[in-house]
Amino acid sequence: MKIGVVTFPGSLDDRDAARAVRAVGAEAIALWHGDSDLHGVDAVILPGGFSYGDYLRCGAISRFAPVMSSIIEKAKSGMPLLGICNGFQVLCESHLLPGALTRNHALHFLCSDQTLKIENNSTAWTSDYEIGQEIVIPLKNGEGSFQCDDGTLARLEGEGLVVARYVGENPNGSRNLIAGITNARGNIVGLMPHPEHAIDPLTGPSAGGLGFFTSIMSQLVSK
C-alpha cells in the first residue's frame, strides 16, 4: 500500500507522518507541492506545519499548490485523504471540508497532551477505534479553533460528521469542542491534533494515535 505525504514549503510534520505510515507497514511516498503527479498513491496525508509560513491564513496559500489540484480531484472521487493540523486547515481552505480554523481563543500557540473522544468510526481513518473511545495525542497549533455558521454546525452534528471531540476544558474555543470532522462519504478527514506524534510512548504521550494509520491500512487492504 502506498500512502502519499505532501511536503509544502514550511511543512514540518511530514517526516513524522511518513514514520507513522511506515509503522503500520505501508510505503510512504513523498509528494512535492509543485508536482501534480500523485505517483499512484492509494491515500494521501496533508501533514502539519506552517506551509508558506501561514502568513496570510493557515493553509490559504498551499491550497493553490499544483499537487492540491490532483488531490482535490481524487479525493472528490473517493481517495482517502487525511489533513492533520495545517493539513486540516488546507482542507477547509480548499472547501473539501466545511468551516474554518481560527486563532486559539487564548491567542497563543498551545502544545499539550490532549484527550480526544472518537465520535465516528465509519471513516476511512477511524475504523479501528470504538465509538466513545478516548485517546491522548498531542495538540499543537496557534490557529486550531474550529468555527462555522450555525447551519453548518447543525448539519455536521445532525449527520454525524464530527470525528473527534476534545474532552475536558475547551483548549482553543472550537465550537462544540470539535477536534476533527469528515465529509459525508467518510474518505476525507481533518483533525487538529496530531496522531502521528502518538505512535510510540517513547516519543509521544501514548500510542493512541496509531489507530488512524492502522485504520487506513485495513481499509486499503480490504478494498
Binding site: R19, G53, F109, E196
Partner: protein, 742 residues
C-alpha cells in the same frame, strides 16, 4: 551622494570621519589608518567599526577566554573546538553533534517578540552553518521581578517570539529556564541554544579557499535592518538629506529560514560547498572577512550584485546590514549550476557576488570602483584586545559577612505553609504556561523536555542513540562568589544530564554581565571564566564555544553575574533513560549526597529579600563520583531528580505533582535546613525496594552518602508530621504564572 573610494581616500587624508559615532576610540581609528597606510574609506570604516565592536571582537573578554584553550582537558570527543561558528563533538556511531548558546538580550528589551525571534533564528543558522541539521532548541531566560509593570510586556513578547520562530522552523523546544530577579528589569536575558547533528564527514567550516571559487549569497534579500549606527556614517559622509531612516530592529521571517535550512541541507548532502558562513551580527562585513581570513586570503566582491529589499541602501549600509535569514557559501565553479538549481527548487534567492582570489586582500567594489581593500585578518581577527582593569568590588566582602535572617519553619503548620509558599513563588512555580507555547514534539524524536531535568532527543531511530542537554546558571551564587558560582552551574548542568542517564561530554556557555568598563563587573567576569575553565579541566569536559554579552545594566546597576552553562551528554539507548518523577506507589525514596546549611543565595532567602552570606563551596570530585554513580545505577532508578533551587522541598513537590502520586518522607536534623537548603551535589532517586542492596553497593563504590527518606504513594506529600494535600500543592504550583501573565 558621492562614493568614497580607495582612490579618494588616498588623496584626502584630512577628511574628518565619524569614527566616534560608530563606537571606535581615537586610538582604534588610528590603528586602522596605520594598517591601511591611509585613512579608511567610509565602507572600510563601517566594516572595522562593526567588526571591532565588543560584540564581534570580544575585545574585553578575549584575554580571559584564552583560559578555555590553555586549560582545556584532553578530549577525544572534540572534533571542532572554539573559534568556528559552533564546536562539534563526536557522540559515536559516526555521528557528530554541534551545539551553542547565543544571547539576544538588548534587542529583546527594545522589541521583545522580534528580538527573541531573531535570537532563535541566529543561533539556528550558526548550527546549520556547521553542516548539521538543527534538531532542537532551548531558551534560558531571565526577567525583572514577576510583578513589575514592564515584565508582562517583556515576558509575553519574548515567549511568543521564541515560540513563533522556533515552532515555525519545526524545532522542538526541549528546555530552558525562566527566572525572575529585579536586576533584570530593563535587561532581560534571552539566551538561545540550538543543537544539530550530522555525520562526521559532513562537517563544514567557514573558510574561503581555492582561487577562482565563487562567493554566493543566498537567502533573504538585504534590507536596512539593524544598522542604526551606520546611518550616522551615511549622513555625515554624504551630506545632509542623504540618509533615510533605518530601522534598528530586525524582523524575523521564520518561513524563509525554514526553507533556507532545507535548501542548505540538500546542498550539503550533494557536497556542493567548499566553505560556508551565516550572516549574523555585522552581516556581510563579518561573513566576507571571516571567510577570507580563514581561507587562502584573497577575495573580491562586487557589492552592487547583492540583491536588495531596499534599493536606497548605501554600500556602507549593505556591508553592515543585519538582515536575517542569509547565508554565504564558497562554491567551485563546476558546482554552481547545481547549487543554483537547488536554490531555485526551494525558491531561495541566490546570487554570485564575488570570487576567491590568489591575492591576500579582501577587495570590494561598487559599480566597478574599489571601496574596500583590506587585509581580511585585520578586520576579522586582529581587532583591539583590552586587558581591562578589574578589582574585587566592595559589595562582596560586605554581603559575604551578612548573616541571614529568614524564617526557619519548625512546626508542622510552618513546614506546610513554607512549602506552599515556596512552590507558588514565581521562580519555583510551574512554567507550563510558558513551555506550552513551544512545540516539543515536532521531528518525533523528543524523549524528554520540560519539566524534566534535561532535554533529550534521539538521533538514531534504529540504534536508539540519543543526546541530552541541560542549561543552568545560579546568579545569586555567582553574585556572592563568581568563581564558585561558575563551577556550581557547571556541576548542576552536568548532574542534570546524568540524572537522566546520559554521560556528560562537552560544554557551551553564555556569559551575561554588566559593563566591562566597570572594574567590579570585570572582576566578576574574570572570576567566572577562571572558575569555569578550572571546573571544566577538573571534570574533563571541553568548552566547545559560547558567547559573551556585556553591558547588561541600567545606569550603574548591573545584572547579577549570570553565566549560563550548557552541558551536552550522550546516551546509548534512550529507552533506558531515567525520568524525573515516579509513576507508582510503593517505591523507596533515597537522597544521594549530604545536606548542609546552604541557605545563602537560596530561593528561600531570595523570597525573604536576602542576598547575603557565603555561597556553597563546589566539590567537583564529589560531583564526578555522583555522576558515575548515577550512570551506573541507571537501570535500578525508577526516577531521579536533581536538587537545586528550592532544595529538597521543591524536588519532592515536583516529583509528586508530575504523575499525581504522593510520598511520605521522614527527615532527621533541622527540618528547615533539610527542606530548604540548596547544598549542591544532591539527587533524589526512587527505587524498587528489592534494589536497596544494589544501590548501597553503588553508593559505597563511589563514596556517596545515601539516606533513605521515604516511600511513594498516597494523595499527600507528608513531611514528618506536616501533611500537604497534592491538590493544595498543585494549585499553589500552577496558578502563579497564569495569574501574572495569562
Amino acid at each position: 551622494m558621492s562614493l568614497d573610494t580607495v582612490d579618494i581616500a588616498g588623496t584626502t587624508p584630512e577628511r574628518v570621519q565619524p569614527f566616534a559615532e560608530l563606537g571606535l576610540k581615537p586610538d582604534e581609528y588610528q590603528r586602522i589608518r596605520e594598517i591601511l597606510g591611509r585613512r579608511p574609506t567610509s565602507s572600510e570604516l563601517a566594516m572595522y567599526s562593526v567588526m571591532w565592536s565588543e560584540h564581534c571582537s570580544y575585545k574585553s573578554s578575549k584575554v580571559h577566554l584564552r583560559q578555555f584553550g590553555d586549560k582545556a582537558p584532553k578530549s577525544e570527543a572534540l572534533l571542532v573546538g572554539i573559534g568556528e561558528n559552533a564546536g562539534v563533538v563526536d557522540v559515536g556511531q559516526g555521528y557528530a553533534v554541534t551545539f551553542k548558546i547565543e544571547s539576544h538580550n538588548h534587542p529583546s528589551f527594545v522589541e521583545p517578540y522580534q528580538g527573541a525571534a531573531t535570537g532563535v533564528g541566529g543561533i539556528v543558522r550558526d548550527i546549520l552553518t556547521m553542516g548539521a541539521r538543527p534538531i532542537a532548541v532551548m531558551d534560558p531566560l531571565r526577567f525583572g521581578a514577576a510583578d513589575a509593570p514592564d515584565t508582562r510586556r517583556v515576558l509575553t513578547g519574548i515567549v511568543a517570539g521564541i515560540g513563533g520562530y522556533g515552532n515555525c522552523l519545526g524545532l522542538p523546544n526541549i528546555g530552558g529556564e525562566v527566572v525572575f530577579d529585579e536586576t533584570y528589569a530593563g535587561n532581560p536575558l534571552v539566551n538561545a541554544l540550538c543543537v544539530g547533528v550530522m555525520r562526521h564527514d559532513q562537517i563544514k567550516l567557514a573558510k574561503a579557499s581555492g582561487a577562482g571559487n565563487l562567493v554566493v549569497l543566498f537567502g533573504a534579500k538585504t534590507g536596512g535592518d539593524g544598522i542604526g549606527g551606520v546611518s550616522v556614517l551615511a549622513s555625515e559622509t554624504f551630506g545632509a538629506g542623504g540618509s533615510t531612516k533605518r530601522p534598528s530592529v530586525q524582523v524575523g521571517d521564520p518561513f524563509t529560514e525554514k526553507v533556507l535550512i532545507e535548501c542548505s541541507l540538500e546542498i550539503f548532502a550533494e557536497d556542493l560547498v567548499v566553505g560556508i558562513q551565516d550572516l549574523g551580527g555585522a552581516g556581510l562585513s563579518c561573513a566576507t572577512s571571516e571567510l577570507a581570513s580563514a581561507g587562502t586570503g584573497g577575495m573580491r566582491v562586487a557589492l552592487d550584485d547583492v540583491p536588495l529589499r531596499d534599493p536606497s541602501l548605501s554600500p556602507e549600509e549593505i556591508l553592515m546590514s543585519e538582515s536575517q535569514e542569509r547565508m554565504c557559501a564558497i562554491v567551485e565553479p563546476s558546482k554552481i549550476a547545481r547549487f543554483l538549481e537547488i536554490c531555485k527548487k526551494w525558491d531561495v534567492t541566490a546570487t554570485v557576488i564575488g570570487e576567491v582570489t590568489d591575492g591576500v586582500r579582501l577587495v570590494i567594489t561598487w559599480h566597478g570602483q574599489t571601496i574596500v581593500d583590506v587585509p581580511p585578518r585585520t578586520v576579522a581577527h586582529e581587532g583591539p584586545v583590552y586587558s581591562r582593569p578589574f578589582s574585587k568590588p566592595d559589595y562582596v566582602d560586605r554581603v559575604n559577612a551578612e548573616k541571614l535572617t529568614i524564617p526557619m519553619p519548625k512546626t508542622a503548620a510552618e513546614v506546610r505553609s513554607a512549602v506552599l509558599q515556596l512552590m507558588s513563588s514565581p521562580n519555583m512555580a510551574d512554567k507550563s504556561w510558558v513551555t506550552s507555547q513551544y512545540d516539543k514534539y515536532v521531528q518525533g524524536n523528543t524523549i524528554q523536555s520540560q519539566p524534566e531535568d534535561s532535554g533529550m532527543v534521539r538521533i538514531d531511530e534504529t540504534t536508539q542513540l540519543g543526546i541530552a542537554i541541560s542549561t543552568d546558571a545560579n546568579a545569586p551564587w555567582s553574585y556572592l562568589n563568581p568563581y564558585e558560582g561558575a563551577k556550581l552551574a557547571l556541576a548542576e548542568a552536568a548532574r542534570n544530564i546524568a540524572t537522566a542517564g546520559a554521560k556528560p561530554l562537552a560544554v557551551t556557555n553564555c556569559l551575561n554581565f554588566g559593563s566591562p568598563e566597570d572594574p567590579g563587573v570585570m572582576w566578576q567576569f574574570a572570576e567566572t571564566v577562571r572558575g569555569l575553565a578550572d571546573g571544566c579541566l577538573e571534570m574533563g569536559l571541553p568548552v566547545t564555544g559560547g558567547n559573551v554579552s556585556f553591558y547588561n545594566q541600567t545606569g550603574d546597576v548591573a545584572i547579577l553575574p549570570t553565566p549560563v552553562i550548557g552541558v551536552l551528554g550522550v546516551i546509548q539507548d534512550v529507552r533506558t533513560r531515567t525520568p524525573m518523577a515516579f509513576d507508582r506507589p510503593g517505591l523507596d525514596l533515597y537522597l544521594l549526597g549530604e545536606t548542609r546549611n546552604d541557605l545563602a543565595g537560596s530561593e528561600w532567602a531570595y523570597m525573604h529579600h536576602q542576598r547575603g552570606g557565603i555561597a556553597p563551596q563546589s566539590d567537583l570530585q564529589h560531583e564526578m563520583r555522583l555522576i558515575d554513580a548515577l550512570l551506573e545505577g541507571q537501570s535500578i532508578f525508577e526516577a531521579a531528580h536533581d536538587l537545586s533551587q528550592g532544595g529538597l522541598a521543591a524536588s519532592l513537590s515536583e516529583m509528586a505533582l508530575r504523575h499525581n502520586i504522593g510520598a511520605t518522607v521522614l527527615l532527621e536534623g533541622e527540618i528547615a535546613v533539610e527542606l530548604l537548603s540548596e547544598t549542591p551535589g544532591r539527587v533524589v532517586v526512587a527505587i524498587d525496594k528489592g534494589d536497596a542492596h544494589a544501590l548501597q553497593s553503588i553508593a559505597q563504590k563511589y563514596d556517596i552518602a545515601i539516606t533513605k527518606i521515604g516511600v511513594t504513594g498516597g494523595t499527600t506529600l507528608s513531611i514528618n508530621d506536616a501533611e500537604i494535600a497534592l491538590d493544595d500543592l498543585r494549585s499553589a504550583f500552577v496558578d502563579t504564572i497564569p495569574r501574572l501573565f495569562g
